[in-house]
Amino acid sequence: MFQYALRRLLISIPVIALATFIIFGAVTITGDPLQELRQAPNITQEQIDQIRESRGLDQPFYVQYWRWVTDIPTEGFGDYLISPRPIWPDLQRVMGNTLQLVIAAEVLAFVVAIALGTISAKRQYSVFDYATTTISFFGYSMPSFWFALILQLIVVQIFFATGVRIFPIANLSSADPGTGLAFVLDRMHHLVLPVISLAIFSIASYSRYMRASMLEVINSDYVRTARAKGLREGKITTRHAMRNALIPTITVAALSFGTLMSGAIVIETVFGLDGMGRYFILQLGRRDPYPIMAWLTVVAVIIVIFNLIADLVYGYLDPRIRYD
C-alpha cells in the first residue's frame, strides 16, 4: 500500500509541472499584461519599462516561465501587477472559504447519496426507488442557481409569514459572529443554503452510481456466500455489499471534487460568498495575469491532490489494484 501511494504521489509531480507550463503558456498568449497599465494617465513610459524589467516581461518565454515557476515555492505567487500587494494571502483566504463550502457539500452529498442509493437498490422497484429516481433526475437537470434562488425565496417567505429567519440567505458570517464555537456555528448556519444548493446535483449523480453498483453487488456470488454463512442482512449490506459498491462511487466523488472547487462560482455569487469562483471572475475582469495564473495553478494542484486521494482511497478499498 505504501509503495502504491508513493508511486501515485511521484506521478503527480510531473502532472503538476506540465499543468503550470500549460497555464503559463495559455495566459501569456492572451496578450500584453501591461496594456491596462498603459492607459493610466500618470504612468510614464519609464515606469512602464521599469515594471517590464522587474517582472522580466522582456525575457524570452522559457526564461519567464522558469522564473515564475521557481518563484512559487519561495515567494508564493508574487504580487499583483498594478498594485504591489501579494497575491497569496487573498488566494489563501478564498480557498479556505470555498473548501469549507465544497467539503461540506461533498460530505453531505456523499452520505445522503450512499443512503439513497443503497436503499433504492435494496428495494428496487419500490415506491421509494421510483421516488428517488425521479428526484434524482430533477436534481441532475435543475440549474443550481435556480434552485439557490428558490431556496432564498422560500426562506424569505417563511420570514414574512412567521417573522422567523431560519437561515441567512447570503454572506459567510454575520456582522458580529463572535469567536470560537460561536463563530463556527454562525458560519455553519450561513453555509446551510449554499451547501444544499451545491450538493443537490452531486446527490443526484452519486446516488445513481451507488444504486447501480449496489444492484450489481447485491446480486453477486460473494454476497450469496455471505448470506449462506448466516450473516444478518445489515451486516451483509455494510460489510460485504457496500464496501464493494462504494468503489466506483468514491472514485466519481473524488474526481468531481476538483471541478466542484472551481465550479462553485454560481453558488458563491448568488449567496455572496467570498470564495474562489468569485475571486476568479473578479480578476478576469481586471485582466491581471498574475492572480489568474496563481488561481489556475492552485486549482490544478487541488484537482491533482484530490485525484491522488481518490487513488489512495480506491487502493485502500480495493486490494486488487494496489499492484498496478
Binding site: D90, V127, Y130, A131, F138, I150, A170, N171, A175, G272
Partner: protein, 576 residues
C-alpha cells in the same frame, strides 16, 4: 407486474406538480404587488414617515447594515484603483473635504466656513477653515493639511495618482493664519470647487508610503462622522462612529458594509431584513419587489449622473457626413425609449437633451430638443443631400449604403432593448442597423482614438454611458481636439468619435479657464448647441438611481452624485 410501469409516471407527475406548486407559491408574491400600498417617494420630497404613524423619535446607538454589490479594491480614494464610487462610500465617511456635492448638484461648504473665495487675476483660491473643524484625535484641521494634500497629489513618486489636474496648476501658497490659506494658480482652473474634496491629515500621514498605507485599511484618525474599523476582504467592512466628531453627535454606533455581488440576492436580503440599506441599479422587477414590503422599507428614485448615449465613429464611411448623423438622431424616438425603459422605474425621467449638463442641474438647457423624433424630417434631410432609397428601403448616399453596426455591452437587458427600439425606428426611415455586442471589457476595447487603434477603430455606433460630474471641464477631453496650423486636428485622449470642431474646441478651452459659474455655463451651452448640429453623439437618458432603507432608520437621502449615498451619514439614526 404491469401496474408498476405506470407508477414511475404517476410519481413523476406528482413531483412535477409539487415543484410547480412550490414555485408558484414563491412566485405569487412577486407577480402580484399589493396595489393599495405603493409608496414610491417623489424625488424631490423630503423623506416622509408613513402617514398613519407618528413621527418616530431617533435614538442613540444602532448598527446599519449596508449591502453592496461591489467591493473596493483599495481604500485610498486618491489612487487609480480606488477611483470608484465603491471606495468613495468608505473614504468619504472618514475624510471630509472643503466642500461636498448635494443631491441637487450644488456645492456646500463642509470643513470651510462658506464656499472658498476666489480671485480671477491671478487666479487664487482662499480656504477659511471652520474653527471647530478637528480631527478625531483632537488636532485641529489646519492649513498644513491642505498643503500636505496638494503635495501628495503632485508628488511624482505617487505614480498611481488618478489625476493631478488643477493641483498641478498651483504654483504657490500662503498661510495667512491658523485657519486660512490661499493657493495661487498659474492659470484659472474652472472645476476648482472639486479640489480638496477629501483632506488628508498631515500629522498622521507625513512620512508614510502613500501608495501603500491606505490600501487595506485606513488610519484611525479622520475628520468625518465615521472611522474605519476593520475589513474582512470579500465579506464586509466595518465603520465605527467618530465619538469625537467635531460637527455634532453621531447617533449610530456602526455602519457595516456587507458585500454580496448579486442584486437579486441583495433585494431578498432587504426584504428579509438581513440588510438595512442598499443602492442597487433599479430594474423594474426590483422596484416591484420593494413595493411589496413598503410597510417596512422606504426607497427613493431619481435620475443620477450616469447618462446613456450613442456615439458615432465619424471616420466610418457614411457616418462621416453630418446629415446622416442628424437623420439618425431624428429617426430614433428617444421619448419612447425613456417611456419604455426608464419610466416604469422613475416616472419623472425625461429625455436628456444636453451632453454637458444633467437634467437636474440648474445650468441645463435643452440643446438637443431640435433633434426630437421626426421621421419625415429625417428622410427629407437625406433626400435633400442626394440620397436615394434602394429597393430594400435602405438609403444610398453617393455610393454608400446606410448600414451600420450598433454595439453595446452584451447581457445588459435594458441596453439590448434600447438597441432593438432604435433598430426598428431607423428601419422606418431607411437606415439599416445590425446589432453587434461584446462582453463588457471587450466592448470598451473597441472604443478609442485612431492612434491607439492603429487606424479606424472597430465600431460604427456605440451605446454606453458616461459618469457625469457637477463640473463639465472634463468634457474637453471627450469632445475636443487640438488644432495646429497647417495640420490635421488631433482628437483628445477620450475623443473616440473623432469629431473635431474648431469653434467648439476653442469654446471648451475658454470655458476651462472661466471661473464665473454663469459665464462658464453660457460657454458650455454654446458648445452643446454646436454639438446638436454636428451630432457626434446623441444623448438618451440619465440612468435612475435608487436608495432603499429600512423604515427604522431616519436620515438617509438619495444622492446620485459622486458624493455617494453616505454624503449625510452623520445625520442617520435609528428610531424606536
Amino acid at each position: 407486474m404491469r401496474s408498476t410501469l405506470s407508477r414511475p409516471w404517476r410519481w413523476l407527475v406528482l413531483l412535477a406538480a409539487l415543484a410547480l406548486v412550490v414555485a408558484a407559491c414563491a412566485e405569487d408574491e412577486v407577480d402580484e404587488p399589493e396595489d393599495d400600498d405603493v409608496d414610491v417617494e417623489e424625488p424631490d420630497d423630503d423623506v416622509d414617515d408613513d402617514e398613519d404613524e407618528e413621527a418616530a423619535e431617533p435614538v442613540e446607538g444602532g448598527t446599519v447594515l449596508f449591502g453592496d454589490e461591489q467591493e473596493p479594491t483599495i481604500l485610498n480614494g486618491f489612487l487609480l484603483e480606488g477611483n470608484s464610487l465603491v471606495t468613495s462610500k468608505v473614504f468619504n465617511n472618514q475624510f471630509l473635504g472643503a466642500h461636498r456635492i448635494t443631491p441637487d448638484f450644488e456645492y456646500e461648504p463642509v470643513l470651510v466656513d462658506g464656499i472658498a473665495e476666489i480671485t480671477e487675476d491671478p487666479f487664487t483660491v482662499t480656504y477659511t477653515i471652520k474653527d471647530e473643524a478637528a480631527w478625531s484625535d483632537g488636532e485641529p484641521v489646519s492649513p498644513e493639511d491642505f498643503v500636505f494634500t496638494w503635495q501628495t497629489v503632485i508628488d511624482e513618486d505617487n505614480d498611481q495618482m488618478t489625476s493631478r489636474e488643477g493641483y498641478e496648476d498651483i504654483e504657490d501658497y500662503e498661510v495667512v493664519d491658523d485657519q486660512t490659506i490661499t493657493f495661487e494658480f498659474t492659470q484659472p482652473y474652472a472645476p476648482w470647487p472639486l479640489l480638496f474634496s477629501n483632506l488628508l491629515p498631515e500629522h498622521v500621514l507625513e512620512g508614510e508610503d502613500f501608495q501603500a498605507v491606505m490600501n487595506d485599511e485606513l488610519p484611525d484618525v479622520g475628520s468625518g462622522p465615521f472611522l474605519f474599523d476593520s475589513w474582512d476582504q470579500g465579506s464586509q467592512l466595518r465603520l465605527v462612529a467618530n465619538e469625537d466628531y467635531w460637527d455634532g453627535d453621531v447617533a449610530l454606533d456602526e455602519i457595516v458594509m456587507r458585500y454580496v455581488p448579486d442584486t437579486t440576492t441583495l433585494t431578498q436580503q432587504m426584504r428579509g431584513g438581513e440588510i438595512d440599506m442598499y443602492d442597487p441599479q433599479p430594474q423594474i422587477e426590483l422596484v416591484d419587489q420593494l413595493d411589496e414590503v413598503s410597510d417596512r422599507i422606504t426607497y427613493e428614485v431619481d435620475i443620477g449622473p450616469v447618462w446613456e448615449h450613442i456615439d458615432f465613429n465619424t471616420l466610418v464611411d457614411g457616418l462621416d457626413r453630418d446629415y446622416v448623423r442628424q437623420a439618425i438622431a431624428l429617426g430614433i424616438d428617444r421619448e419612447v425609449i425613456v417611456e419604455t425603459l426608464i419610466n416604469p422605474v422613475d416616472p419623472d425621467a425625461v429625455v436628456l437633451q444636453n451632453p454637458i449638463y444633467m437634467a437636474n442641474q440648474d445650468q441645463y438647457e435643452e440643446a438637443f430638443a431640435d433633434l426630437d423624433h421626426d421621421p419625415e424630417a429625417a428622410q427629407a434631410l437625406l433626400e435633400e443631400n442626394g440620397c436615394e432609397q434602394g429597393d430594400d428601403g435602405i438609403y444610398e448616399c453617393d455610393g454608400t449604403r446606410l448600414s451600420f453596426r450598433l454595439g453595446t455591452t452584451g447581457g445588459n437587458e435594458r441596453r439590448e432593448l434600447a438597441q432593438q427600439l432604435m433598430q426598428s425606428d431607423l428601419a422606418d426611415v431607411g437606415i439599416e442597423i445590425t446589432i453587434e455586442n461584446d462582453e463588457g471589457a471587450a466592448f470598451f476595447d473597441r472604443l478609442n482614438t485612431p492612434e491607439a487603434c492603429d487606424g479606424i477603430c472597430d465600431y460604427d455606433i456605440a451605446l454606453f454611458a458616461w459618469v457625469g460630474s457637477p463640473d463639465p471641464t472634463a468634457n474637453r477631453n471627450i469632445y475636443g481636439c487640438d488644432f495646429e496650423d497647417g495640420e490635421d486636428p488631433e482628437p483628445r485622449p477620450q475623443n473616440w468619435t473623432v469629431w473635431c470642431d474648431e469653434e467648439a474646441s476653442a469654446l471648451m478651452d475658454e470655458a476651462a479657464q472661466t471661473v464665473d459659474p454663469d459665464d462658464q455655463a453660457a460657454l458650455w451651452n454654446e458648445v452643446a448647441e454646436i454639438m446638436s448640429d454636428g451630432v457626434p453623439i446623441v444623448p438618451l437618458f440619465q440612468q435612475p438611481q435608487l436608495l432603499a432603507w429600512d423604515d427604522a432608520i431616519t436620515g438617509p437621502q438619495l444622492n446620485a452624485t459622486n458624493q455617494t449615498q453616505f454624503w449625510n451619514s452623520a445625520d442617520w439614526a435609528m428610531t424606536q
